[in-house]
Symmetry: C2
Amino acid sequence: MAVDRRKLIVEAATKSFSLFGFKATTMEQVAKIANVGKGTIYTFFKTKEELFDEIINRLIKEMKQAAEEVINPSFSFYENVHRALYRILEFRLEHQLTIKLFQEEKEMGTPAVMEVMVKLEQAILNYIKDKIVVAIDKGEIQPCDPEITSFVMLKLYIALIFDWEKNHEPLEKEEIAELLEKYIFEGLSK
Amino acid sequence: MAVDRRKLIVEAATKSFSLFGFKATTMEQVAKIANVGKGTIYTFFKTKEELFDEIINRLIKEMKQAAEEVINPSFSFYENVHRALYRILEFRLEHQLTIKLFQEEKEMGTPAVMEVMVKLEQAILNYIKDKIVVAIDKGEIQPCDPEITSFVMLKLYIALIFDWEKNHEPLEKEEIAELLEKYIFEGLSK
DNA sequence: AACATGACCAATTGAACAAAACGGTCAAAC
DNA sequence: GTTTGACCGTTTTGTTCAATTGGTCATGTT
């Protein structure tokens, strides 16, 4: 085995999806970039979607890894949630692939992309949910529904990072951390 | 003046926008429903967009009125915010026009509709913001940025009412009130 | 024998053109 | 003065058809 053809294909597809999106990437182009015949792709992946799915699963793994890297057990729960969520959402702004897919989802509504973005969001939600379950067990936060809480946290973050920018000056990372603390962890009541 | 032609036109347009949306409503159709000539519409409104705008301004007024009706000074601030926001968002589910426009915004992205929906959201935000400013003055809640707080509240409500339903059983009105209280007014910290 | 390949296929897409429908105007009718 | 619908330039929609696509498989290569 001179070269790992499977790896070549996945790398080529990642490159092309990142550059042109899912729909505008043709299997012939992937084959050409990977320097393999088109038929070879189909010995490893049944369909274009399956190839796409493999790449997304890798992306999810990478995001989890990136999140784990900024988490520090000596920090408080909310500090860690903030750091993890912020890091995960930074991905969207840093990685060509997520930028392109986010754009394709909004502008073209490509079904395969829509599906995959749901999967990605679900992965993030599950990740946060697990953290919340642990925090409740440890008594770091009040008991609450982890499903709803992770949902609320993610929506709040997306709103503060992406939606807020549409009409206002972007918020600093520290401001967002303060807001999370203020709203979710302290509350506004007197 | 046997009949108020302007009123007839606005009523006809409201009916048609509610039934078919903005794009699929033609000025000829509005004229036919209103029993006036097409040219008559243009003696009152310069463009189709201007007619649309008038209708939206009426809608905003109606929403404010509906919100005011459920507010009760003897209730707490957060209870009133909940009632007002819930009532406003109920509009989307009750009124044909808002349902149709919400759908047209998402599915077709008609520019004039997008614009108007931003205006509608802005009106809601300003309404909540005013309530927050008063509440801070009265010392009912901690000092906070009213702009961000109203933004967070609305996004949280939209997430809990509309987004949550996409993957879960809808939340009851009381559950949403509890969640708002838990997250925004108490916090999760121990 | 095992694997890799690109010519090939049915299905989908999109460019190009024609026809219909549209928002808006205005001279005529009332 | 007010109302109107035939009319206009533009945009949207429907249609056609050639090019492209995802996927297969008989053939070639090692």
